[in-house]
Subunit: 503 residues, 2 copies
């Protein structure tokens, strides 16, 4: 019988191998988006499938399960840190083991077919082509929820994968408050006579200068280019192969220099989180955020709260004037700030502004929960979608491509993912409120392009925890409260009152 | 009991997974050289070690061994193509199985330590620091040779890994002939009054134009950029993740535009081979060259025989004049051709010209065989090295950094690798002779920048075979002869007689 120390060492070695495989899978995917020549796709598909199967086999092996069970049984003999490792691994393992391999296999097959059908359906705006796949994926998701178990709603079992401990019944009152107050705010904004001038934006912004600006801002934020890099890709994303190898991507729109910048700052927020995990969590499952909502809080804090603030533009507007040959000579911080925060109810989530964004999420949450709880069928989705778009955003949906077919998530069978975007907004505002209390001259520093106090605060209170605590507990410990919509609504109402001259 | 067809399917699936792991390992390494930020090295080391261990476990699993044994026993029932798959897998498996895991482990540890000691020793030119590691690696290589088995010399067991079927006793007379005839040729060249003018080369050649030229030439050669890409790295190399995802790297020397070009054309030759394997060999062990020498024959054929020919420069010199703002206006094809083929006995193998290159190899071969056969000890290496440099190249070795410490190979425990470089030269010339017979207007096409007939010929006679035949058999079938030094010596003597006005 091996000693507890030996068991712990073996456990760390075995989970280290699982992490190696996951990081390698991430590299296969990063390369596919960033470097791979087009004809490489077929082989890459095989490589990813093989690695994923090996990862699953290794993680759920009987050796790993026995080891975790033995260590969990001796939890009282382990240090606090060791207990974190064991508890989190046991949690993931339990979820993985509850899903029968045949179900995992059927889901993978259905998702692959559904994804291709969705691509076709969206390009032709033909919901009917996607409908049978959506119905199948909903049935599989419900089967999955039954395997995983839940107390109130099968949706909770799915949501838990992305936002541990969160439930539909906790989300509903939060989302109701958001829908009411954000709806009212948007209505006032739309009617305001003070609308931003964005005509000056419409010019050909040089690509090289755009990339230079994104790199400067990333560096200023504290992104370590010795431990990461930025590339271009069709859809911006962040990935990590290690705490010291974190990669972001961005995309350039020559008609809008704010597009690449906000992508980079958003992904930079994710990346600072990944670069900020303690080195002792390296090659373990703890080098991760406790939830997608918490991860998203970091990207949205940097992108929206800081990157679209007036102090931020006080610092960077002169840089825009000097970097871009095409920039107006008299461009003012206020001009950029107003353009960067323009509110306009529209059809597409990924293009939505800060004021309307959550409304897009709430609409999806309502449809998702209804599907998973069985109160509507897949065929009713377009009708419900279009009705809610009218209700929440006052927009008429001209076709399903710009309606219920716009997002990739459902085609991947990801139900319960959307709410984490809205929670990211709430968490960010909750953290901001506490940061402003702790650091009275926070905005003065932003106005000088200095972000080290913000990053230091986030490192200490958020990044350093990894996933050793849940998002709920982290927020409660740091801000004194569990997730609540009030700080976000206060932030939003104050900011947009100033922008749109609301009384 | 499963049917033969089912067994064959399972075998292809299992070997496909092994190939996926090997290709993924290649991606981890490519990324490390081309993209990885510096701090990513530690995690990358773990990822590579984990993947390599998994690959070994998968490839040598009892399931794989049983499957191969069962299929081999029913060889007469298999098609010719199926037999190729089984035979080649059985060959690799037998080698892998003959090496005890403890020996593999000790070699990996010794190599890792030796590599770091070599880096230090080379930077300080202190052979003594590397000596104990070299002695240890030689002992391990001899142990390895005993496990693998051999008929005449333990060196043969090592050489066989890189050049199947080749032996020290077959190489010796070939190398003796080369040493004599190349030595005599170099002596005449050095004494020739007609030395090339290279003063015009000494200018600042624009990096962007250099890269543009390499891409144009690669495209002209037939490199498919939809199924591959070129990047920059410190040491140029080629790697392949699939027949349709083959990547080359190059490096730019702003004082010498021929440096990047010859790197790209060399790696392009390797890459055309990799892109030329039949698609039915995809995801199998047969999508490979039969030997390193055969692989090298492709890179050297393109780099030296074609890329340093006068017809080649008749086509590309005008491009050099138009691409480089700094190029002399009256630059002539003859000028570039002479500069590209300048002969100068020197200390460093990787900088050696076509006439002296094999002499560097022969020197290493003599030292390697003596070490492995036990006729000298590691401590005698510098003395023997310096003596042979004097004998073959007339060069005095000023320090071991520019002598026996210059190459990485021995620090990796790779004994038997060097001869494949020289064999590449021989194979290339042997193939050229046959190509010239088959295609009388070969050089007219080169002079017009048309390479499709050459590539087509290589595709048909070399690339299409993958590793289904040995290098020996391939050469014999295509050229009527096994490896022989005559065609190379004829090529060399004729070319350099013209260049240096030798009677």
């Amino acid at each position: 019988m091996s000693s507890l120390t030996e068991k712990m060492e073996l456990f760390l070695r075995k989970t280290g191998e699982v992490v190696d495989l996951r990081r390698t899978l991430a590299l296969l995917q990063w390369d596919e988006e960033v470097c791979m020549p087009p004809k490489g796709a077929e082989a890459r598909g095989h490589q990813i499938a093989t690695l994923a199967a090996l990862e699953h086999r290794l993680f759920t092996s009987s050796e790993m399960r026995d080891l975790v069970a033995e260590l969990a049984a001796e939890a009282s003999e382990l240090s606090l840190g060791e207990n974190d490792f064991v508890r989190e691994t046991a949690h993931d393992l339990e979820r993985a083991v509850r899903l029968p391999e045949s179900l995992v296999h059927r889901m993978a097959q259905a998702q692959s077919r559904a994804y291709h059908a969705w691509v076709r359906a969206r390009s032709e705006s033909a919901f009917g082509e996607f409908l049978p796949h959506l119905a199948g994926l909903v049935a599989l998701a419900r089967e999955k929820a039954e395997c995983l178990g839940y107390a109130e709603s099968p949706y909770d079992a799915l949501l838990d994968e992305y936002e541990r401990g969160m439930t539909a019944s906790r989300l509903r009152p939060i989302f109701d408050t958001l829908a009411e107050r954000q709806g009212a705010l948007v209505a006032r904004i739309v009617e305001s006579p003070l609308q931003p001038d964005t005509a000056w934006m419409d010019r050909d912004w040089e690509e090289e200068a755009q990339l230079r600006l994104t790199e400067e801002v990333l560096r200023d934020m504290g992104f370590d280019f010795e431990a990461g890099r930025q590339d271009k890709s069709v859809h911006p994303f962040t990935t990590s192969f290690d705490t010291e190898d974190v990669r972001v991507t961005t995309r350039v729109n020559r008609r809008d220099f704010l597009s690449a910048l906000s992508s980079s700052v958003h992904e930079g927020g994710h990346a600072l989180y990944e670069q900020g995990f303690p080195l002792r969590y390296r090659r373990t499952l703890l080098a991760d955020a406790p939830s997608l909502g918490m991860h998203e809080s970091q990207s949205r804090l940097w992108e929206n709260v800081i990157g679209r603030s007036l102090p931020f533009w006080r610092h960077y507007t002169p840089r825009v004037r000097s970097l871009f040959p095409c920039a107006p000579e008299d461009l003012s911080p206020e001009q950029v700030w107003r353009a960067a925060n323009r509110v306009e109810p529209s059809l597409i989530r990924v293009e939505a502004d800060e004021c309307t964004y959550n409304l897009h999420i709430i609409l999806r949450f309502e449809i998702e929960t209804a599907l998973i709880e069985g109160s509507i069928e897949a065929e009713h989705v377009p009708e419900l979608w279009n009705e809610r778009m009218r209700l929440y955003l006052g927009c008429e949906v001209p076709d399903d491509a710009r309606g219920c077919l716009q997002d990739i998530h459902w085609s991947h069978g990801s139900f319960g993912y959307f709410p984490t975007y809205a929670l990211g907004n709430l968490y960010a505002a909750q953290l901001l409120e506490k940061m402003e209390q702790d650091m009275p001259n926070l905005w003065d520093n932003v106005a000088q392009g200095k972000f080290w106090d913000i990053l230091g605060w986030l490192r200490k209170h958020v990044h350093a925890r990894g996933r050793a605590v849940t998002a709920d507990r982290l927020l409660t410990e740091v801000t004194g409260k569990p997730p609540t919509p009030e700080p976000f609504l206060r932030y939003l109402e104050e900011k947009y009152a100033a922008l749109y001259g609301l009384g």
